[in-house]
Subunit: 285 residues, 2 copies
């Protein structure tokens, strides 16, 4: 299940907006040598960024976690110009932001006084009002590090896991760590059983997705019970509903895991209720 | 304990040798976006690469592990020209080799038909005949992924661990996983107790260092007993000797862990014997 991707027209790179093909960095950038960086992806819907402050706050937390200092206000201020140059002003799009530690001769420990490399680009993307199609996923052991709460660019583990899914015609790989479902390679995982919503608590083993947070808020508003609790992998086929959340994934129902139908519902009532409420949040922007 | 590092004069990049400041890649290189690449570091001593074939074989294994295809013979053939251009022909130096999946619009799963980005550079480095000075290290939980056998560029975990050591004036962080010492952030760890050498087996939790392999061969030659067995973290202060191995670390004795003197020897007899034998191997090149 390969998703189509495109290059953007323009890239913001360290204060300048350049054509995508001219956006180049030194091979000595620590983002290239060590995966020493962090990132965010935000959706812009009808000219408004969805939960922008939450994304910016998380970017700051990711940077702080790896001792990287960059002025988030400067990059935030550059976003309107980038959208304008990219022909996306007022249009639906996704924005990618990446901050790496910058250029330095190779040594593992952080160099002193480097200028972080800040890169952003946006590309047109109209997200469906609600993601209608349930997707198949595969399950595998969570072999990634124990700081999945940091949204970093050292993503080879996630890349390998997502490739594993794609090769089996699936959208995602969901992970189990010590027998408990944590999250997926680029999305969070929720289950529903007898009207109660379950998802892994936001500890070091998952990325606390913004869409995950919105869904938890919506559960509260809709008076749906939530247990912040990872579901044992042995119990997943006993669940009534399951869905993924993420910035472009939004709320996407899961219909099978490792080729086995997950539940009796293709798109369960709680999932549908949350999708409708999520759509309402977007439309109220 | 910051090590001094320098930029090289020249860089080999996708078939061309350019000045270091002109060595640039696209921001869409998956090495920059995802840490989607592998690498090697080799020492050249008196004009000969130390265990070159072993490094090249490991590079091929790392690439295979992440489904990356590049012709290692092509890059190998380019090394003499790079050394010549860098003014390092016949000189002692270190060579860095990095292969990333190349440029593609961002999506986690592997894109089809990208051209890998191959980058190499060398810089002058005369390694001491034997590393004389014992170094202090710190100990922390191994929070990295479970495929440490792949020599990949998604190294943020190793970077953070090495930074942790540097901030405490130490050379390395050694890791414990589930109470067992695995390896260090960019080197392998050995212990000696009553004449027996202990090191973690080469499973998915360590990088099977070339110097580690040479030391194990030397143990066999010197009739030193080896147990391929990780030492419990609670037992490290009962060990007689401890040392690190690595391409530039060579064989370096450890004298303290977390500020506590490790053993009665600054540089134990088994460590010394191995250092002398290692020096002999280098001098026989």
């Amino acid at each position: 299940m390969k998703k189509k991707s495109y290059y953007p027209s323009n890239v913001y790179l360290n204060g300048e907006i350049v054509r995508a093909e001219a956006a180049k960095i030194s091979v000595f950038d620590r983002g290239f040598i060590f995966g020493d960086g962090v990132y965010e992806v935000m959706a812009c819907i009808k000219g408004h960024f969805f939960y922008k402050q939450a994304h910016m706050d998380r970017l700051k937390r990711s940077m702080a976690a790896i001792g990287l200092q960059a002025d988030v206000r400067v990059l935030e201020a550059a976003i309107p110009g980038l959208l304008q140059e990219s022909g996306l002003k007022g249009k639906d799009c996704l924005l990618y932001i990446q901050v790496t530690r910058g250029m330095a001769p190779r040594q593992h420990s952080y160099p002193v006084g480097t200028r972080p490399t800040v890169m952003m680009y946006a590309w047109p993307k109209v997200l469906p009002d609600q993601n209608p199609n349930p997707v198949p996923v595969v399950l595998r052991e969570d072999f990634r590090w124990s700081r999945c709460d940091i949204k970093m660019t050292s993503l080879l583990g996630n890349v390998m896991a997502n490739q594993n899914a794609a090769e089996q015609g699936c959208y995602e790989t969901i992970f189990e760590r010590a027998g408990i479902i944590t999250e997926a390679s680029h999305s969070n995982v929720f289950f529903v059983k007898e009207g109660v919503v379950y998802t892994h608590p936001a500890d070091h083993h998952i990325l606390d997705g913004i869409t995950r947070q919105v869904v938890l808020e919506l559960c509260e508003k809709l008076e749906i019970d939530v247990h912040l609790q990872g579901i044992p992998a042995v119990d997943i086929f006993d669940m009534d509903e399951a869905f993924l959340t993420g910035t472009s994934t939004q709320i996407t129902p899961i219909n099978s895991i490792d080729g086995r139908e997950l539940h009796t519902y293709q798109q369960g009532p709680v999932t549908q209720k949350l999708q409708q409420a999520f759509s309402g949040v977007k439309n109220s922007l």
